[in-house]
């Protein structure tokens, strides 16, 4: 279904519900501020959720849930970085809860090729897709926390302090955890012979 139709329906239902029950939703953030914040954070958050879980549908759901919980929160300060860290912390907690309650190995979740977000290499016959698939398989061999750490450090460019805030660890333990995770990933990439197109 096209997104515009879903959006129109959602607006219609929300208006109808608001009129019917007279319930006010009081988010601390107004819509305009939210849009700006969303445009800045949605892509990184989705990638983080997707690459940590390996499941595009799950990443979609958790992204929606993360923003919902974020909007309901009350902030003492409306600092953008603080709010972004808070949002990622919510997302990380959702992932942890999912793995804890589903009682499935994160590796098993991460192995799904048919999750709807990204086409398989066979579907597209593309080298980039093949490499994406290979790397995704390699990422499955890492622990969820290692994937989270690596993603935040090397893709988001987060400092150790920010990583600690986002995934709820002590700042001083980030350095060694990150070192081990990076060493493990590099070894796996070399062993599997995965070399990026840029060399």
């Amino acid at each position: 279904m096209p997104e515009e139709i879903i959006l129109a329906e959602a607006q219609q239902i929300a208006r109808a519900m608001g009129a019917a029950d007279g319930v006010e939703t009081s988010f601390q953030m107004d819509e305009q501020t939210f849009r700006i914040f969303y445009d800045r954070t949605a892509r990184p958050l989705w990638s983080y959720l997707y690459r940590s879980s390996g499941d595009a549908a799950l990443a979609d759901d958790f992204m929606q849930e993360s923003y919902f919980r974020f909007l309901r929160a009350r902030f003492k300060e409306m600092d953008q970085e603080y709010m972004k860290n808070y949002l990622f912390r919510i997302a990380t907690n959702l992932l942890r809860d999912h793995w804890r309650h589903a009682k499935v190995a994160p590796q098993a979740v991460a192995g799904r090729e048919e999750d709807g977000g990204v086409p398989t290499p066979e579907e597209r016959g593309d080298d980039r897709l093949q490499m994406n698939s290979d790397v995704r398989r390699i990422l499955q061999d890492l622990k969820p926390r290692e994937r989270e750490l690596l993603w935040l450090a090397y893709v988001e460019g987060s400092s150790h302090r920010e990583i600690a805030q986002r995934i709820g660890l002590k700042e001083r333990s980030i350095r060694s955890l990150l070192f081990r995770a990076r060493h493990k990933l590099a070894a796996l990439l070399r062993r599997q012979g995965v070399v990026s197109s840029s060399g």
Partner: protein, 180 residues
């Protein structure tokens, strides 16, 4: 394994992320194991990120906003109907307890009535049913009246009724005055 972090590591990662390398840094990354690992990991992961950006369409902010509003309204609605549901359940419990208490209180009368029903021929059961019911109720009422005139009965009954009544009044007042 002892963690070793090269001082150039952050520069290497930034160079991978931005794609701007200088010759010295590239040479260093080729020689330093720690920086080589960091560069490899950062390069591969950033390619994954670029791939996601190109392949996956993110939902519109408006959709997420409206859905969050919808969920918030739903949650608020559930919160609002919680007391009503609670009172409904409480009322059901009161009815069940009242019936059980009445049965317990009037058990001799009920037993006598059931015994009378069992003693009559089957053909008479239906015809005399209402007569027996009214008889049983009369007996119950007279027995209840007897209990009320008993020395302890009325006081206890009134006290229990007053406590339940006050409980309901307090409960109703709380929900009437509460803002939420």
């Amino acid at each position: 394994m002892k963690p070793h972090e090269c001082e150039n590591e952050s520069r290497v990662i930034e160079a991978v992320r931005s794609g701007r390398w200088d010759a010295d840094l590239r040479r260093h990354a080729a020689l330093c194991q720690s920086c080589a690992d960091a560069a490899l990991a950062a390069r591969v992961l950033n390619e994954m990120r670029a791939f996601d950006d190109a392949e996956h369409r993110i939902r519109d902010a408006g959709f997420v906003w409206w859905k969050a509003q919808l969920l918030a309204k739903q949650a608020a609605g559930e919160r609002a109907t919680q007391p009503i549901n609670f009172v409904e359940r409480l009322a059901c419990l009161c009815v069940v307890l009242s019936v059980a208490a009445a049965c317990f209180w009037q058990w001799p009368v009920i037993r006598a009535w059931l015994g009378a029903l069992a003693g009559k021929p089957a053909s008479l059961h239906f015809g005399s049913f209402w007569g027996q019911v009214s008889g049983a109720f009369s007996a119950a009422i007279s027995s209840g009246a007897g209990a009320l005139t008993n020395a302890r009965g009325p006081g206890l009954l009134l006290a229990v009724s007053a406590v339940i009544f006050l409980g309901f009044v307090a409960f109703a007042a709380y929900f009437a005055l509460s803002e939420r």
